[in-house]
């Protein structure tokens, strides 16, 4: 599956987008309505005054009016809010303030409309100031009255409004994202509970069930609990089965072991052929017992019935005793921190790890030559080193598989090891939260080095 954004991120983004659309829509409507409203009102009030001014002008001018009179007239018109009057009289254009607004600033289209005898108005920007320009034609004389009403105060108001709306929108979006995160977390919390329960089950606590889940997730929690019960039932059945198998296998082995010991006591009384047969029987019974023991041990992992029983012990003494128990006295080395280092581990399982690694060295490499204990920051490494042929890189992973006899041993070599020793090593170490690997020797000599890494926190 392609990588997907997390649910929480998606919900938050959705809330953010929703807030954005809402805020932008409302802002746009507010802005447009306010703008229309303000402009219309300004134009309405202006128009009334412009009409009044135009009437004033029409009453005061006739064909004999001089340019001087007109100039005076245009200066004296009542023009609040900085409105700029312009009078056309024939070809003469007169404006109250020629620099700010005069004939060239009047839009040609407006001029044409007014020239056709229609009153008209246009809104446009001159320089940087927006104006509403109104033109009134006269019918009895060749003249027209224009007035440019500046709208810059409205523009200022509108830009303030725009800033306010943008700020409001941004806040809304942020609040939306915030609510999204909060809501997503609320929504995801029951899922987190389920996740924790699943982790608890995976970690071995099979009694974990979901309780009092959100009503919306009732079906999910119900089926989750059903699944957990089914899993628990199956594991318990499997464990019971393994336990029964154990009993059924060990009982006849008990009879065989005891009877064989009785026979071995009288080995001298037996004919040579029978002695040979007895030796074969003994050897394979030992092998079979080890195989059964290893199979039962590893089956506990398969049915999920393997549980650590940890205790504290000194690792150096432990390693030394393990070597002695295996009948070896390899060179024992350690890093400075390993001296009197106490580890918390399952002693029985770790003893089996050591025994199996030492036996492996015996069977394939002529015995271990060195055991090295290295204390690292949060782990301890136990290296079992031999001087055998080493392990080919392609075999280094599969060597820990069950019955992986690989290149190291021909099929005829049955009898040395059960084929489960290293697999059990891997299982035991993994149960401790550690790892096991095989490498070449660090000193460049021929041989293999099996390194068991255990965490020091003693979980």
């Amino acid at each position: 599956m392609a990588a997907r954004a997390s649910l929480r991120l998606r919900v938050s983004v959705a809330f953010g987008l929703g807030a954005l659309v809402l805020a932008a829509g409302l802002s746009l409507i507010t802005y447009e309505l306010t703008r229309d409203n303000l402009l219309t009102r300004r134009e309405d009030t202006s128009l009334a005054r412009v009409l009044f001014n135009a009437t004033q002008v029409s009453r005061l001018i006739d064909d004999e009016t001089t340019e001087e009179q007109l100039r005076e007239l245009v200066q004296n018109l009542y023009t609040p809010l900085g409105a700029r009057p312009v009078i056309r009289f024939g070809d003469l254009w007169l404006s109250a303030n020629p620099v700010e607004f005069s004939e060239p600033q009047i839009d040609p289209q407006l001029k044409r409309t007014v020239a056709r005898g229609q009153a008209a108005q246009m809104r446009y920007v001159v320089g940087e100031t927006p104006f509403a320009v109104i033109g009134i034609p006269y019918f009895d004389i060749d003249a027209a009255y224009y007035e440019a009403v500046p709208l810059d105060d409205i523009a200022t108001t509108l830009s303030s409004l725009l800033i306010a709306l943008l700020t409001g929108s941004a806040i809304t979006v942020l609040v939306g994202i915030g609510i999204g995160i909060w809501a997503a977390q609320r929504a995801v919390r029951p899922l987190a509970d389920i996740g924790e329960a699943a982790e608890a089950i995976a970690a071995g606590d099979l009694n974990t069930r979901l309780e009092g889940a959100d009503p919306d997730l009732e079906r999910l929690s119900h089926s989750f609990n059903q699944m957990a019960s089914a899993l628990q039932g199956r594991i318990e059945r499997d464990a019971r089965f393994a336990s029964n198998v154990s009993h059924e296998l060990r009982s006849p082995l008990m009879t065989l072991t005891a009877s064989l010991e009785v026979l071995r006591k009288r080995q001298g009384d037996l004919p040579v052929r029978s002695q040979t047969a007895l030796n074969l029987l003994s050897a394979d019974l030992e092998h079979f017992k080890q195989l059964v023991a290893d199979l039962l041990e590893i089956s506990r992992y398969d049915v999920g019935a393997a549980a650590l029983e940890t205790e504290d012990f000194e690792i150096m003494e432990f390693v030394q005793q393990a070597a002695r128990a295996a009948g070896h006295a390899p060179r024992l080395t350690r890093s400075p921190g390993a001296e009197s280092l106490i580890v918390r581990a399952d002693r029985r399982r770790l003893a089996q790890v050591m025994a199996n690694l030492l036996e492996n060295a015996d069977n394939h490499a002529g015995g271990p030559t060195q055991i090295h204990v290295e204390c690292l920051e949060s782990t301890v490494e136990i290296g079992v080193i031999d001087a055998g042929p080493g392990v080919a890189p392609e075999d280094r992973d599969v060597i820990f598989d069950r019955f992986a006899r690989g290149q190291r041993q021909g099929p005829s070599a049955r009898g040395s090891g059960t084929g489960l020793g290293l697999a059990l090593v891997a299982e035991h170490v993994r149960l401790h939260g550690g790892t096991v690997r095989v490498t070449e020797r660090g000193d460049g000599m021929q041989g293999a080095c099996f390194v068991v890494t255990l965490p020091l926190d003693g979980r």
């Binding site: 060990r250 009879t255 072991t257 128990a325």
Partner: protein
């Protein structure tokens, strides 16, 4: 001199195992008496107490734990539990029912003999056999296996007594589980330390006034146990 052979009572329902064990144990020099279920075993023991009892946990009718508890009510005889399952619960339950040691099938009869010999060893310290001694408010009569507090007699099994004597031989010093395993049960470094833990627990319930807060048999975390006055 007529040396009485040590008698072992085996309680085992599987006839083939029972017979083969008898043959092998007789080869080791023990006298063996067999029983196929718990009731018979208890009757035999009441009539003629054995020196050691070997009990299989999985028995028809009265199970091995119950046989063990019944035996403990009438005797301090050394008991070895036999289990065909390496189940922690079974082993701890067997020891708590009063067994002194346990073995997992299939075991070598030689191994069983070694276990029996260890259990039959007398209480002794490194300096030699011990007689009676007084420790705190306890009076220990080693020969009889009796500990007396005031006028009250406390009955200890041989293994519990040896554990107490071992701890008392160096009071105040911490003895590791491994050391106790070796001295009392004859196991090496890799013996099952649960043997020590369960026996310590049993010893506490007998000699401590408040077993949950022991004053005499004290646990030293990560090191072992010590006895203090």
């Amino acid at each position: 001199m007529v040396a009485m052979a040590t008698r072992i009572l085996t309680v085992e329902d599987d006839e083939r195992i029972r017979t083969s064990l008898r043959l092998a144990l007789e080869d080791e020099g023990w006298e063996v008496e067999e029983s196929s279920n718990g009731e018979t075993a208890l009757n035999i023991f009441r009539r003629n107490p054995a020196d050691v009892v070997l009990i299989d946990i999985m028995l028809p009718g009265v199970d091995g734990f119950e046989v063990c508890r019944s035996l403990r009510r009438i005797s301090n005889v050394p008991i070895v539990m036999v289990t065909a399952r390496e189940d922690t619960h079974d082993i701890v339950a067997g020891l708590e029912a009063g067994a002194d040691d346990y073995l997992t099938k299939p075991f070598a009869p030689k191994e069983l003999s070694a276990r029996i010999r260890a259990l039959l060893r007398r209480a002794r310290t490194a300096e030699g056999p011990i007689t009676n001694f007084i420790f705190a408010d306890l009076e220990v009569f080693a020969e009889e296996g009796v500990v007396r507090r005031g006028n009250e007699d406390i009955n200890l099994t041989k293994t519990e007594l040896r554990l107490l004597v071992e701890l008392a031989s160096s009071p105040g010093r911490t003895l590791s589980r491994e050391l106790l395993l070796e001295r009392i049960w004859g196991y090496g470094y890799f013996g099952d330390s649960r043997l020590v833990d369960v026996h310590i627990r049993r010893l506490r319930t007998k000699i401590e006034t408040d077993p949950a807060n022991p004053r005499h048999v004290v646990t030293v975390r990560g090191e072992g146990y010590k006895l203090q006055p």
